[in-house]
């Protein structure tokens, strides 16, 4: 497929390590904003390069339908969705098998840090919408979801930051683009890590790698998640400063 002009010139950029000129452990330009959906209890917008995601949180509120309530803790509901025009070939609206799986692993990851036990019989809903997709949508969505939960004041034991690392064109790199994901030798490892205890809560993988490469990827992911966490803190502080609210990040 022919490349767009801008990308062609970038890939001619001599000395550049990656197709878009980044170093192996360099994130794409990241943008984060908290409080973008007024009606929601909490919300966030996250950009990883050309990947753009909005997340919004409702709850805790009484679970409905009621017979699905858990008497011991809140039910966490996560919905990840791509808009039809967020990808090259129009995606039919509504959930598919891929988005059901991604919603599940995001829910599983967040359930390790959200204090669900404080809200028995309740539900907490996290909606994530991908506006534009250029790889890494699930990790951007999880990063945004974590911000939106904090913005909603939902008690969390720590924050969660996520990034995809892997291999492309012979190198172990962080935050792959779609172009890198399409490389012959690509390995894609989305990783989510908690901010305090550094526990991995989301980990998937596509590709073919040795255990040694895996270790290197995990190390790079840890570093990258730390950087992302710093940006998450800043985004939250920005909002609270604007609003003059007290900061409410549970892990500080």
């Amino acid at each position: 497929m022919p490349k767009k002009k801008s990308e062609e010139s970038k890939s001619n950029n001599k000395g550049a390590v990656r197709p878009d000129g980044r170093k192996v452990d360099e994130l794409r330009p990241v943008k984060m904003e908290v409080g973008v959906i007024e009606r929601a209890n909490g919300s966030a917008y996250v950009e990883f390069g050309k990947t753009k995601v909005v997340a919004a949180v409702y709850g805790p509120e009484p679970m409905h339908p009621r017979h699905l309530a858990d008497p011991e803790k809140a039910v966490l509901i996560c919905r990840y969705n791509m808009l039809p025009f967020s990808v090259e070939d129009r995606k039919k609206p509504g959930p598919d098998r891929r988005s059901i799986e991604i919603s599940k692993v995001i829910k599983d990851a967040l359930s390790t840090i959200v204090a669900l036990e404080e809200f028995p019989k309740c539900m907490i809903s996290v909606d994530m919408v991908v506006l534009q997709a250029d790889a890494g949508t699930r990790v951007a969505a999880l990063t945004a979801a974590s911000l939106a939960l904090a913005d909603a004041g939902i008690p969390m034991r720590e924050m969660m930051s996520a990034v995809a690392c892997g291999r492309a064109n012979g190198k172990i790199v962080v935050d792959l683009t779609k172009e890198e994901e399409d490389a012959e030798d690509a390995v894609d490892v989305p990783v989510a890590m908690s901010s305090l205890t550094k526990k991995i809560a989301l980990l998937q993988m596509d590709g073919d790698m040795t255990l040694e490469e895996f270790e290197e990827i995990l190390n790079k992911a840890e570093e990258a998640c730390s950087k992302i966490y710093d940006m998450q803190r800043e985004a939250l502080l920005n909002k609270y400063e604007k609003e003059g609210k007290e900061v409410n990040i549970n892990d500080e």
């Binding site: 967020s86 090259e88 609206p93």
Partner: protein
């Protein structure tokens, strides 16, 4: 948005005196903002904010078959979804009757106004035409969704370009060529009513207090190209005609403000 009875009464008493909670006049719009190109993967896209209401629309182009009774015309397919994130009362799942109604009202405005020059979207008569997928999503609901959706729709269409196609009619997604041929700028304006007072651009709170709505979509030349009265409101003939005039005038103002350049170009042609 469940307003208390007290708020409801206050809102109504204000309207009776020609006033509104946020200080606007009854026929005054909130500020409208447009961000073009919110998704580079779309052939065209736009985000529209009216006050806190936030709607995004995107255009994807595909090659498909024409309708048998219109063999030389492109095809328009419009969908809309009220995302669960947009309001606590919105449920996830398939679009409900309100989202379907919105999509169909916006679709009729675009279609009947001839906004898209569908004949220019014919590639091989009776066999291959461009299919325009127009998808609309409500991200945040603070009232007046149809107007926001209609403006987002036409903005996304104005933002759209045709992708390149090979000789075998394969689409080359990332090489865009000419703009989508646009011939008109239909704007839907929705009127709500309290007693004999007609309001424009209602907020979610106001809509919770008032019952029913009447949408009138007009073209550049002031002609009406779509109407929809619904949600349990009834009007006298005179009210209907008054509302239609209000809608035409408000649409003219919005067109001048948001689509000035295109308007000039179209009026010249």
């Amino acid at each position: 948005m469940m307003s208390s009875k007290l708020t409801a009464e206050y809102v109504r008493s204000l309207i009776e005196r020609g006033k509104r909670l946020d200080g606007r006049k009854l026929d005054e719009f909130r500020e409208i903002k447009i961000n073009y190109g919110v998704s580079e993967k779309a052939e065209g896209s736009a985000e529209v904010m009216i006050g806190n209401t936030r709607v995004v629309a995107g255009v994807k182009m595909d090659i498909g078959e024409p309708y048998p009774d219109m063999p030389n015309k492109g095809v328009l397919v419009t969908s809309a979804e009220f995302l669960a994130m947009a309001a606590p009362e919105f449920e996830p799942g398939l679009p409900g009757e309100n989202a379907i109604e919105l999509a169909r009202v916006v679709d009729r405005g675009v279609r009947e106004s001839g906004a898209i020059d569908l004949e220019k979207l014919c590639l091989v008569e009776g066999e291959k035409v461009w299919v325009v997928f127009l998808d609309i999503f409500v991200l945040n609901h603070d009232g007046n969704l149809i107007d926001a959706a209609g403006i987002a729709a036409i903005a996304a269409l104005l933002n759209a370009k045709l992708p390149k196609i090979t000789e075998d009619y394969e689409i080359v997604r990332d090489e865009l060529t000419d703009p989508l041929p646009i011939k008109d700028i239909p704007i839907p304006i929705t009127i709500r009513k309290y007693g004999e007072h007609l309001l424009l651009d209602t907020t979610a709170l106001e809509e919770d207090v008032l019952t029913g709505k009447f949408t009138v979509t007009t073209k550049i030349n002031g002609n009406i190209c779509a109407m929809q009265l619904s949600d349990g409101m009834s009007m006298t003939k005179d009210e209907v005609l008054q509302a239609a005039r209000m809608a035409r005038d408000a649409a003219t103002k919005i067109r001048e403000k948001l689509f000035k350049d295109k308007l000039k170009e179209l009026k010249k042609a």
